[in-house]
Symmetry: C2
Subunit: 98 residues, 2 copies
Amino acid sequence: MLEIQVSSETDRQRFAAVGRALADPKRLCVLESLAAGEMSVSDLATRVACQVPNMSQHLAVLRSAGLVTTRRVGNSIYYRLADQRVLEAYQLIRSIAR
Amino acid sequence: MLEIQVSSETDRQRFAAVGRALADPKRLCVLESLAAGEMSVSDLATRVACQVPNMSQHLAVLRSAGLVTTRRVGNSIYYRLADQRVLEAYQLIRSIAR
DNA sequence: CTGGTACTTGCGTGTTTGCGCAAGAAGTGA
DNA sequence: TCACTTCTTGCGCAAACACGCAAGTACCAG
């Protein structure tokens, strides 16, 4: 039996932001891609099959939810998963949806 | 290191539906409430502070994502969590957002 | 300084979402 | 059947979202 204590409304809004970040197939594809290691924006755009500006917006959602972090190398910006727990959460969601 | 195999697009859409179910503060409040045990729609509406039709729609989202199940007793319909993993996923999300 | 690459931001558009309200099931009891 | 309770569904509207495209910012090489 898992202990769940009640959250405040503002806390739930922050948690919901994480849920929203996980609510789009393209963003989930980004997480799968980043599971193998960091990637640049244009690489991710190619892999997910969308335009670079669109990818940048999706990455902004993931970033503001705290799921990914960035590192600049010259012109490129490399994104990586912020935490191993992001993959754990995604795996759990996949097992629930199975 | 967590192993993540790539999903198909249709699979990711199903996973994203779970993410969407977790993307609203009221629905998260429902999950917290159901952690203590099953509740009727009107009870949940009172607890979450919204109208019954609105609650019914939120519950439909959770239900179609497979996060909750129902049981009818007379006029009332009792909702409960479909799986312990739903709480585990929520706990993970909370720890990530902390 | 100039040109080129990589990314972000702003804007317009069509779609989806959350909500209140009214109307429709579904069940209970008299 | 009738009245009542409980939940779901349909409708309309405002807000949020995903997307393409154009413009802006940041960095590097020459």
